[in-house]
Amino acid sequence: MSSTTTKNGRIGDILLEVKGLKKYFPIQRGLLRRTVGYVKAVDDVSLYVRSGETLGLVGESGCGKTTASRCIIRLYEPTAGQVFFKTRALSPDGTPKMVNLLELSREEMNRVRQEIAMIFQDPINSLNPRMTVADIIAEPMVIHGKYVKGESEERIIELLRRVGLRPDHLRRYPHEFSGGQRQRIGIARALALNPSLVLCDEPVSALDVSIQAQTLNLLQDLQEEFKLSYIFVAHDLSVVQHISDRVAVMYVGKVVEMAGAEELYNNPMHPYTEALLSAVPKPDPLYKSDRIIMQGDVADPSNPPSGCYFHPRCQYAVDLCKQKAPEFREVKPDHWVACHRAEELKLRGI
């Protein structure tokens, strides 16, 4: 799994590898704030991203997609696990080397953060209303001591142009822009320090359909141009299929399946993926739906079911699924799944 060809014909090495990542939030009660339990928001997540590719991370709300992505850049301090990232920031001559981000000191981590940027879901709340567009985009440069008068201003104008805004927008404030334009400002800010990895947390779900298409196209163009890698967190499976090279599906804090986008959508091997795919409403009135309606709600991450977390909603569950949690294993080359019955089940794709 070291290198392979992605859809655009690029060869990529592993840029980021996450192993056994866990994040438990304590539940505290009473006067003494005793810890009475844990919300297992992220519970044993393993995945990897090659350079130049997009990894889609899908799942229902509350499944830990956002928490997992925030743990990667240590916005949340993970409870356990390893996050290996290929960085140039830590070696004096700029040669890339693999480091475990969770072992870095605060100062080292800050240096690595230049190479990992984030785009947030809500374009209104993620921009400071009291800063102009120029200040917003310059802020990462200022923080990392890379702001050079004159030169950086040119770069900001160049970035604005690149995301489809005009130089005369520089002195305006976020409230003067529409949702789609604000998201473009967020994207320009993310690109300010030439990152190699961009964590996109639901970047288009707050946007209208026509603006969503523009933004997705922009993200693809920028990836091409700046050789970016994306982790694309979303709940919309059609959007994820469109933009991703590989897709990881999460359910209650765990990655249950990970494979190439085409492979995952055509030959899902986890019953949850199958049910999720069949639940997506198709924009075709003549489509005869035979969807699998999952019963019940998503499991409670503070009190998950025994064995496989999905077994109470799974139509294929057997006794083993109630007793033993399945292992996340590579069933086919580059197709990982956590299901006891992965080999025997014939599941329906799209």
Binding site: K7, E60, S61, S178, G179, G180, Q181, D208, V209, S210, I211, Q212, A213, Q214, L216, N217, Q220, H235, L237, S238, V239, Q241, H242, I243, A261, E262, Y265, A275, L276, L277, A279, V280, P281, K282, P283, D284, P285, L286, Y287, S289, R291, I293, M294, G296, D297, V298, I350
Partner: protein
């Protein structure tokens, strides 16, 4: 509901055979604000028949929700209905003998928004579910209390009496008692698929999950047995698996009660599986109206075409870019001249589209479009 299940099956193919429920004619809603006048809805015309699902699609700010609120006379200030009519074909909910088929035509726009008549219609005869289930439920009341309120306000139970020829007939109605209201609430929660409804009826909104809250909203709306349900983005805040459950539930309930649904959404996938007929709105104007199959397979207006092409679809991967609509939604205070869509339109004809306001033109059976391309 007097229409039987067999009639519903029959009328699925012949939409026109169903009796009219609501007729919106040239509706105009304006908001006068400091910067000027925003025409939130400008010349909207459509009708909804009993048992039919009418879809309204469009991007945010196009006037979908304002239309829904206009029908219930709940437009927030400073909005005002400045033109047009909304005719509601009302059948008596609690008919006296011999009056079962009486239809009364009410122009909703003429009613006092705080008056007795609209308050009977609002919630009782035309119910609404809102997009955000968390902020639409009161956090201090239980699910049961929410449903009880609607039921005690709007539902009367028949008192059967012995008539002249020793036949039991409905002569009078009485209000629902507390115990009955609770029983109805539990029954409604069961019908919308909430597990253990006897316990859940006493749950507060924060004790319910997002999907369950939306089910409670639907239970409130349906507990009064409305003739029409307005669903304003009912599944937008929900996950796909819960969304599938809710949509199935709405279709089921429609089949059993012959309720009309006005379904407002921006999700083309959802509308394709729900609606019989669709209105496409852009900047307060309706740009196209057609049966669902015609709209998806034979769209006429450039905006509809672009909208359909700009959604990523599940299916064989093409690796292509999405067709996107260039530019952005114009400032509602400064609408473009001529056709409002012309600055973003791929079929723009200079000197025509920016000068002439297109008319509402019929291009096929039940297929209307507002575009100069289709005018003679």
């Amino acid at each position: 509901m007097t229409t039987t299940a067999t009639q519903v099956e029959h009328t699925q193919t012949q939409t026109d055979a169903r009796p009219l429920l609501l007729e919106v004619q040239d509706l105009k809603v304006e908001f006068t604000i400091r910067g000027g006048v925003v025409k939130a809805v400008d010349g909207l015309t459509f009708d909804i028949k009993r048992g039919q699902t009418m879809g309204i699609i469009g991007e945010s700010g196009c006037g979908k929700s304002v239309t829904a609120r206009a029908i219930l006379r709940m437009i927030p200030k400073p909005g005002k209905i400045t033109g047009g009519r909304i005719l509601y074909y009302r059948r008596p909910r609690h008919p006296k003998p011999g009056e079962e088929d009486k239809v009364e035509v009410i122009d909703v726009t003429k009613l006092d928004p705080d008056g007795e008549v609209i308050r009977q219609i609002r919630g009782g005869e035309i119910a609404m579910i809102f997009q955000e289930p968390m902020s639409s439920l009161t956090p201090v009341y239980t699910a049961g209390t929410h449903i009880n309120e609607a039921v005690t306000l709007h539902r009367l139970l028949p008192i059967k009496k012995l008539g002249d020829q020793m036949v039991e007939r409905i002569m009078e109605y009485r209000r629902v008692t507390k115990e009955e209201a609770r029983a109805i609430a539990i029954e409604m929660l069961r019908r919308v698929g909430i597990p253990k409804p006897e316990q859940r009826v006493d749950s507060y909104p924060h004790q319910l999950s997002g999907g369950q809250r939306q089910r409670v909203m639907i239970a409130i709306a349906l507990s009064t047995e409305p003739a029409m349900l307005i669903a304003d983005e009912p599944t937008t805040a929900l996950d796909v698996s819960i969304e599938a459950q809710i949509l199935d539930l709405m279709r089921d309930l429609q089949r059993t009660t012959n309720m009309a649904i006005m379904f407002i959404t921006h999700n083309l996938g959802v509308i394709a599986s729900m609606a019989d007929e669709i209105v496409v709105m852009y900047m307060g104007k309706q740009v196209e109206r057609a049966k669902v199959v015609d709209l998806f397979y034979n769209p006429k207006h450039p905006y509809t075409k672009a909208l359909l092409q700009s959604v990523p679809r599940l299916g064989p991967k093409t690796g292509q870019r999405l067709a996107s609509i260039e530019g952005m939604v114009p400032d509602p205070l400064n609408l473009p001249t001529g056709c409002v869509f012309h600055p973003r339109c791929p079929a723009f004809v200079a000197g025509k589209c920016d000068k002439i306001v297109p008319k509402w033109t019929q291009v096929g059976e039940n297929h209307w479009v507002r575009c100069l391309l289709y005018e003679e």
